[in-house]
Symmetry: C2
Subunit: 230 residues, 2 copies
């Protein structure tokens, strides 16, 4: 392998698509990893496939993980209803209902396994501590602790070349993320953020994720290419 | 839920079966987690089902994980041949061929997700730093780093009740593990350690894992109930 190489976690949403554009822009050969973990919106996975293809990545793998067996989240537990906001304040108190137990830990661990085999020097993940402050595994201190653990867990770490976890979005607002991606030529029409998107990838416009996204485009001063359900 | 509750990782091998017996002996209600990750020996998973049933656990879940897609290990890559020893020295130099990339990180992460949903206070894993010293993710410093990361990743950690990782075998020799399990009434005939066991769970007697196990019974002074291929 020539040049530097990274595993990039891609959900198909706006944030991770921006991270992929950033990793490419930094000169990494990108191996993209997505998860089919029983999330409600398979549309997001279809979006991930399109985004990865458009970004001309080296490889895109989708791992099936039946996390829905564990339950405990409105994102995977179909017996819980999705939170909807009637106000402009889309922040929730405490840990939100859409929290998937240990999700970023699981995703980063699997990315770490692939990175170790590929001898990749970096993993990119689109965690963000601004918009989703209720998730414990989106905090910078979690990421640093994961990196320290990974340095002890892997061959690369033992050999003194630990795999780094890159979180280029961690301190950005949604508007700043959209501005950065737009500057890199991202076409956000291919991304899906809605928890309840229909089969054609059209957003509901009502859930927290839709409201955050719409507000982001508005504040960024970038035209919103999101397709909404009629 | 009344009383204390733990997630126990169970492969169906001798070590993890002993850990399950120890967790039960310590008074934990045990939720047992196994993985079907493309390992050669599905016989080991059948052994896990029998061991879990015999131990009368609260629940046993088997998660399918297609780690074989990542390659890089003789345990999951069918193009690599298994190492066999012709000498009594079954230790290998450096990191062994049977190392599965980030395996314990991935297994512990998924156990963490389930533990968070169950509100379990502990995860038990049968890592051992004596017999398998070539695996970076079997070292005590890795386990402590994982625990520190987990405390930042989960709701329990945020609320000041971090989930603890228990590794009761970490400093024991194979003989000491067998003696401890035998004292707790373990029937090791149900466990499979062989990387190349046949469909009836009979061991090859030649691979490193078989040799370590046989030597363990010999040194423990416990009759070896292992069934070998004819």
């Amino acid at each position: 392998m020539t040049g530097k190489c990274a595993v990039v976690l891609l959900s198909g949403g706006l944030d991770s698509a921006t991270v992929l554009a950033m990793a490419k822009d930094q000169g990494y050969s990108c191996y993209v990893l997505s998860f089919d973990y029983g999330q409600r919106s398979l549309t997001e996975l279809n979006a991930a496939r399109i985004v990865a293809m458009e970004a001309d990545v080296v490889e895109h793998r989708v791992l099936r993980l039946n996390l829905e067996d564990f339950g405990g989240s409105a994102l995977t537990d179909h017996n819980l209803s999705m939170p909807e906001s009637d106000t402009d304040d889309v922040q929730e108190e405490g840990i939100p209902l859409t929290y998937v137990p240990a999700r970023n830990t699981v995703f980063l661990s699997l990315a770490l396994g692939w990175a170790e085999v590929l001898d990749a020097s970096a993993i990119f993940i689109g965690v963000n501590a601004v918009d989703y402050s209720g998730y414990p595994d989106c905090r910078p201190e979690f990421i640093r602790a994961f990196e320290a653990m990974a340095a002890l867990a892997t061959r690369q770490g033992v050999e003194g070349k630990p795999i780094r976890i890159h979180t280029p979005l961690i301190d950005l607002t949604k508007a700043q993320i959209i501005q950065a991606g737009t500057a890199l030529g991202m076409d956000y029409a291919n991304t899906v953020s809605c928890y309840q998107a229909d089969d054609e990838g059209r957003a509901c416009g009502r859930c927290d994720s839709c409201r955050l996204r719409a507000k982001g485009f508005e504040q960024a001063g970038v035209p919103d290419p999101t397709r909404y359900q009629p």
